[in-house]
Symmetry: C2
Subunit: 389 residues, 2 copies
């Protein structure tokens, strides 16, 4: 196990009706609020009205920034930064899924920074005095509700890059599983794939003696496998929504990765794919992950795959170890299929010729080589993308 | 799953040599420190010198309170409160195991409270402005290093009672597994039993659809079962110490219990036993837990016991469900035996006649009935104690 530092200060307010605590949390955290949301689904489910009612009850001064896109873009972040500066905002509240919560963190980072906020994403810039952020979650997927990470797409450079800083962790997050009950099956499924991908990225690691992290990760994966099909059949099952929502938070709150070094190749590859094609992040991860697995499976990496197959998917341990490992990958592929997630990038409308694939592989490695579990060269990345097409 | 609120703000600094971060943490959290420790084992392992060296390097004004007992007592807590008031302390740093860390929280609660600090433990008193506390852990067991709980023994009333408040969570905790390498096997074993008991108390719950919490709890239990025997054979195995130390923190940081209602009967019974006999807490829990299990196992509670047997101890699920459940209990008993923990209270020198047992049962229920998973009456408590003798 490696050394690590970890704190998880986000106040989680979890459960049916937890929006009732919003006023009390605002009293403690800010009275000049920028409310950030997406396409308006928070209006359909009645959440918008509840928020505004609370703002009025608690004499909150607020401004709104709506229209956050599923792959959130830099220009909207910049608009948010301007709004915060102009209206002397002291709390940014995001109501939505990961794209909204990622956006509020990027806005928060930029408000008191003199340079271009994109600096943070390309490894420049020193984060000082970010504004407090808070969230009301409406999609279980990214885990952004309780960590310091955000991923933003730069429309000009066609880059989609992450920035992670502990000061960007939300001060509170309201997690009501009912807010996810309205989601269509494809979004629920993509969210579950995203959660599982976070687990898998952290599970496949060369750091030794991470028994506790590995068993905890298997616990979250098994939760997704247990409740995924239940939700596809019965989208309003509260307890299934609750288990999946808590899985989304715990998968990326820091516990699974503390003391380890995750791989994250599939995320880097997917970020490029969705920067080029605007594919849903979780769908891209579900398609790419089994191909990444096939690429990195070898005699050297075999043991981890056997643990995955046996402990997560109950594959019987047999003498032919490679067969056991491949069964694990097949079970994962089958599971994503059972959630009706497309199995190939072509099905999602993505098309790339060899030139584009090579350029994508180059771009992916622009800020350094990827693959902590197994280092990938450009050829390997192209092979993964081709086999996923 | 139930609704819940949870935050885990304690900054965990985990790993070999993490004491190097102490100075930086003091700069952020306090410059007038009360250093609290036990019998002096921190001097034997060189930790005391490292702390004092850091204090001197960072110009920290400090006072010391040593001699904290394994079952920490109220009079020492009161001494600590006086020291804090007298020397205008602004941070209480505990270096030791759970008894030291529990003591610093009780001191912290008392400093700015006008009444008797024992009020908090008997359900009176309103906690306002507790002093910040921080810890350097030297025994993996209680989880006190990252939660807001403490248990104190009142020598006068012979009561040992808990107090839990979120404001008592340490601001930082330094967790270096090497600090636990010097421990004798019986302390290591008692610590592991304590961790497992925290898991078991939270696992056995009537709240439905807690799949994610149950799998996470099994992960921590399996970690104890995996590394316990390794540590008994090789006490200085760093990675085994690291996994057990992190298991101790995670078992009671809040994640396993969030959304559930744990049982905690065995803890209440053990607190009475160790208030009467000064037994090591973890040893008492290891002895009592299987007897509690036998008492509450019934057709109604069977399913949870089957999960425990199958998922934690790999018992084969069979047609005779009661047999499977009992095998789980037997495996737990055998596991504690394999760590050379005494199997009966008599072996530890505890003796009680019927009168004392009845009085103990009465005392245990003084502040209300115990047993959330299965309510226990006085007769049931006496049966558990008698069978454990």
């Amino acid at each position: 196990m490696l050394s690590f530092e970890l704190s998880m200060p986000t106040k989680i307010i979890f459960g049916k009706g937890s929006i009732a605590k919003l006023g009390e949390m605002l009293l403690k955290n800010g009275n000049r609020v920028l409310l950030v949301y997406g396409s308006g689904s928070i209006k359909k489910i009645g959440l918008y009205n509840q928020i505004i009612k609370t703002f009025n009850e608690y004499n909150i001064i607020y401004k709104e920034l709506s229209g956050i896109k599923p792959n959130p873009i830099l220009s909207t972040v910049k608009k948010g930064i301007e709004l915060c500066r102009e209206h002397n905002i002291n709390l940014i509240l995001g109501a939505g899924g990961g794209s909204v919560i990622d956006s509020i963190k990027a806005i928060s980072a930029g408000v008191n920074y003199k340079g271009d906020v994109w600096d943070f994403f390309i490894g420049k810039g020193n984060l000082v005095n970010p504004l407090p952020v808070a969230s009301i979650l409406t999609l279980s997927a990214t885990g952004s509700e309780a960590n310091g990470g955000c991923v933003i797409s730069n429309e000009d450079t066609k880059e989609k890059l992450p920035f992670v800083h502990p000061l960007l962790k939300p001060c509170f997050s309201i997690l009501d599983p009912d807010y996810t009950s309205h989601l269509p099956a494809n979004q629920t499924a993509a969210g579950i794939a995203d959660i599982m991908s976070h687990c898998i990225e952290q599970y496949f690691s060369n750091v030794e003696e991470t028994y506790i992290q590995d068993r905890l990760t298997e616990a979250i994966l098994k939760t997704c496998i247990h409740y995924g099909p239940i939700l596809i059949n019965n989208p309003t099952d509260y307890h299934a929504r609750a288990n999946i929502m808590w899985a989304s938070t715990l998968a990326l709150i820091g516990i699974l990765g503390a003391g380890k070094e995750g791989d994250w190749s599939t995320h880097y590859i997917e970020h490029k794919v969705s920067a080029v094609s605007d594919l849903t992040h979780g769908t891209g991860l579900a398609i790419l992950t089994p191909h990444w697995m096939n690429e990195v499976l070898s005699e050297t990496t075999l043991d981890k795959f056997i643990n995955f197959a046996v402990n997560v998917f109950n594959v019987s341990p047999g003498e032919d170890k490679m067969f056991v490992a491949k069964q694990g990958i097949q079970k994962l592929t089958d599971f994503f299929k059972s959630l009706h997630i497309p199995s190939t990038l072509s099905e999602t409308g993505f098309y790339a010729d060899n030139n584009l694939l090579n350029k994508m592989a180059n771009d992916i490695q622009k800020y350094g080589p990827i693959g902590k579990f197994k280092k990938l060269d450009n050829e390997a990345i192209v092979r993964i993308l081709k086999s996923a097409c």
